[in-house]
Symmetry: C2
Subunit: 213 residues, 2 copies
């Protein structure tokens, strides 16, 4: 891995994760593990609405690096899901901050119910998108003009990438690495993480109504 492999010919890949109270741990740290394994090829920022520690849905607290309003142009803006999304879809201040930072980002990638936030902000209108299967009804109600896909591990529609529930964000992140760098590097990262990558976005083992035992 050399610096010349970065998209901009030397500058690191800038990734900001939007963190809020009640975010889902793996929605954030599955993707950030994959991007983090790129080492010096990435620069990760934890972006929040307030400069205070943010407790995840499970409890562990993360310290922010910057306010969402301070974040400049990002290569990837990561939007996790979690129970905290239920309050944020009713928060006009958050939705406006999300619209502004998403407009600047080169790629906007959501995991799980994170797509409900993008939908409510109007960013997915007329686009294909997906979300967590167990919260699908609530998520889709946040964006009546979105072309919701009930069977997809992840969906890419121009700069908007949306994944299914929780662990699906890891598969989408490896696909993003393949998209921004190359497939061999994504394979290498999956190997280093000892993660069996589901490489096919249409292979969705958790499609509604099917339970995996």
């Amino acid at each position: 891995m050399t610096a010349s492999k970065t998209p901009e010919g030397g500058s690191p890949l800038k990734i900001a994760a939007v963190i809020f109270p009640g975010f889902e741990l793996l929605d954030v740290f599955g993707p950030l593990e994959m991007f983090g394994l790129l080492g010096e090829l990435t620069e990760i920022t934890m972006a929040t609405m307030e400069q205070s520690p943010m407790a995840s849905a499970a409890g562990p607290k993360v310290l922010p690096d910057a306010l969402i309003s301070e974040v400049d142009t990002q290569d990837i803006l990561l939007i996790p899901g979690g129970i905290g999304t239920r309050a944020l879809v009713k928060d006009p201040g958050f939705l406006e901050a999300l619209r502004l930072v998403a407009a600047e980002a080169k790629i906007v990638a959501s995991v799980c119910t994170g797509s409900a936030l993008l939908a409510k902000a109007g960013l997915l209108d007329g686009r294909q998108a997906t979300s967590n299967k167990l919260a699908f009804e609530w998520v889709t109600s946040q964006g009546p003009h979105v072309l919701w896909q009930p069977k997809a591990r992840w969906v890419a529609d121009e700069k908007f990438w949306t994944s299914s529930g929780i662990a699906a964000g890891i598969d989408m992140s490896l696909a993003l690495i393949a998209h921004l760098f190359d497939k061999a590097l994504a394979d290498e990262i999956a190997n280093r993480a000892e993660y069996l990558w589901n490489q096919n976005p249409n292979d969705d083992p958790f499609v509604l109504g099917i339970s995996i035992e």
Copy 2:
């Protein structure tokens, strides 16, 4: 899921994760996602040597809940790996704190190079254990009296559970949920996380020398 399903007949499952500078994100948050989905059945503590934010290997910083020395008897003590383990194996103060807290814990579970810390503390002598495959030589050098298993997704030897690299910790955690509660609950958690659980500890796709494409 009812409170009566907890191991102690009502009290939540107490889980402490040992966090240090340079910990690997997914080693911690893969397992804590699975345990966290148990909801009120669990109580999670982020335990550190100092009361200050701990930066992961990838950058994001976590806020501690308690000092390792303050942690009482835990149902599960989680020991992640990460580049920070290289310094900790040379830190007698940390190793002594680890010995004390591990002695009290009902189950001690490590992910990736976390088993190097347990090995260096002498806790795995005469026991079967495994670790990250790409760091296997360094890890095994930390515990010459450990019965290291080069092919295993995870290994359980009495109260010591050790997993292979990074994502393998998720599989081990689901096996711990099956062990402490029941298999149906572990299946339910894997489904909710939309995670394809590798349920066989002997099925190790990342055994040394085999590269997955």
